[in-house]
Symmetry: C2
Subunit: 346 residues, 2 copies
DNA sequence: TTGTACGCGTTATCAA
DNA sequence: TTGATAACGCGTACAA
């Protein structure tokens, strides 16, 4: 078991100084052809590689990006990570992942751990608990320490930083317009409580779309599900809520759901109630997930281009990291959505 | 924008030496109550935190685990990561993620990047290309350098290290036994090419189960799908293959698929051919995914306990890292599978 | 009780 | 052409 070799060891072995070795390896022309070759041969033989940690300490940059997300077992977030990793790797960065598990304290702890030198900047999506408590001091503090942050998807106006967001509003409008165009008269929405910014925006899009088409929104057609319900255990509660929605509003002929699970579950409930999809009720979801593609019938969805979001976020962060100019002018990049029509609409 | 404060700055500010500050902060009783308090107050005020990189360099350990997986947009792998992250965090470690994207060279490059000091050890699952080429030099080299590796799921006998695997063989047998028990006489298997170790094992389990029940395996009932087909674009090809399987073998009354996509797709094809599930054909998949739960009908599956695998892998690695004893006796932990019965079986 | 010196591995500057 | 030295930030053995 040969430990990794260091400059010092090479120097001792070859009876030259450390700095000579260092220079020789970097092809400095201060060094004679002779020793250069000797050193390089030796280094190659022992497979010398500079120690990243030492380089990080010296250069005061780690070439590592910290990602903080609420949950990794989630198509959207894992696709974003893939995008980040893709760009990061291409530009010579590594990626270190912290999960907040939707918890404020875990988010804070994770960020503090990473902010102490381990990374050069953050890409993150805010946890639900943080959004509820509206306590953003950990973000401002890290930014004040000179560590850049790029937020994606779940962002917040209070914090000044680069952001990458989905065009939730227009995405929803597209979906609702499509339902109207397909002949729906009574369109329900299944959404989340308002403190989840994306849920709020998507609800707003639904309302605006209806208004623009001179359709009066009805409170009874708006189902705001408690977030805990996304967890698998509460699927039955979700189903019951949706069933109530349908039975209380027999005339529903279109459903817009702000995520995949809601949409799939709603279709399931509809089928159970002997409603035909899409003949009796049409469905559109909002997601980048895998369920839609394999559902029965396949689900029409608003795609978010998650991977592209990740790529953009990584590019923004690395640009920020590598460009000297101190003038801070943050940008918010909006990733357009795309309506993917499948069999749950006519 | 105040940069992170260092010991040196505190020392200068308070007009004491660096080591005094260091000791004071670590509550050394060499330091007078007086200066200790003074230093601690100042440090707290400026929110001093030791620099991780400096600590890593000094201690020669980074408290960071490197994960290399073929793909992150995959329920199984993201669940494993969640398990790793959970344990790692609990034990004071961070997690850095590299994606091989099923490519040999990306796997090698990623490992080399991380092995140069960035991490203390690896947890990985081997890429398909590596398995095909059977070139494992990068694993042996990192192990020889004294950096421990824990492999999970896609492992390989040639490498001596800790391993966490699913009991693929028995998992498959359980599934096939269940189908037989439920009255299936002609059970087909949809599996991968043999170089994917888990596919091979699951096929073997299928064969053994049949043999134990004195049922003769028929080659025509074994569909070995090309791996590229898992990618979304090739779904149609997959469907066609499965359709051929069904039409060429009208008597199929049970299907065991080695992953979720195969199973779901097969159910879809069956429905298209007007076969009722589970009345005419019963299905069992192999997975920890989200599709099974939301499929129509819901899919009976062999669950792999992915998160538990991640937790175990992390514990193994960290144990290895923190325990002094040099005697290497590697273990292979087998995670038992669990048959989750849903509506695709009677 | 406090401070000096050293080492972790590297590179850059300056001296020889 | 080569080498000594300092610095990145920290902790600690040893000296004062």
């Amino acid at each position: 078991m040969k430990r990794k070799i260091t400059l010092k060891q090479i120097a001792r072995e070859l009876d030259v100084s450390i700095s000579t070795v260092s220079k020789a390896l970097r092809n400095s022309n201060e060094i004679s052809e002779d020793t250069r070759q000797k050193v390089q041969a030796f280094a190659k033989l022992y497979n010398y590689r500079p120690n990243n940690i030492a380089l990080s300490l010296k250069n005061r940059k780690t070439k590592t990006i910290g990602i903080i997300i609420p949950e990794i077992v989630h198509h959207f977030f894992s696709k974003v990570i893939r995008g980040i990793e893709l760009v990061a790797n291409k530009r010579g960065y590594n990626v270190i992942v912290g999960l907040s598990n939707e918890s404020f304290s875990k988010e804070v702890i994770n960020m503090e751990m990473l902010a102490n030198g381990s990374i050069d900047g953050f890409i993150l999506s805010i946890s639900k608990e943080t959004l509820q408590q509206q306590d953003y001091h950990h973000f401002t503090e890290t930014i004040n320490q000179g560590m850049p942050i790029v937020m994606f998807d779940r962002v917040v106006n209070e914090i000044q930083c680069d952001k990458v967001i989905v065009d939730d509003l227009n995405g929803s409008k597209k979906a609702v317009f499509k339902l109207i165009e397909k002949g729906c008269k009574n369109i329900a929405i299944i959404t989340t409580k308002d403190y989840v910014s994306v849920g709020k925006l998507r609800t707003q899009g639904y309302l605006e779309a209806l208004e623009e088409k001179q359709i009066k929104a009805k409170g009874s057609l708006i189902l705001k599900v408690d977030d805990a319900l996304v967890s698998d255990d509460h699927l039955e509660v979700l189903e019951k809520d949706i069933e109530t929605l349908f039975t209380a509003n027999k005339n529903i002929d279109g459903v817009f759901a702000v995520n995949e699970i809601y949409a799939i579950t709603a279709m399931k409930v509809a089928r159970k109630l002997n409603l035909r999809v899409p003949e009796d009720v049409q469905f559109i979801g909002f997601t980048d997930g895998v369920l839609s593609k394999h559902a029965t019938p396949t689900l029409t969805t608003v795609s978010q281009h998650a991977q592209q979001m990740g790529e953009k976020a990584a590019d923004l962060l690395i640009d920020n990291l590598e460009i000297e100019e101190e003038e801070e002018h943050y940008q918010t990049v909006v990733i357009e959505t795309e309506l993917i029509e499948r069999d749950s609409t006519k």
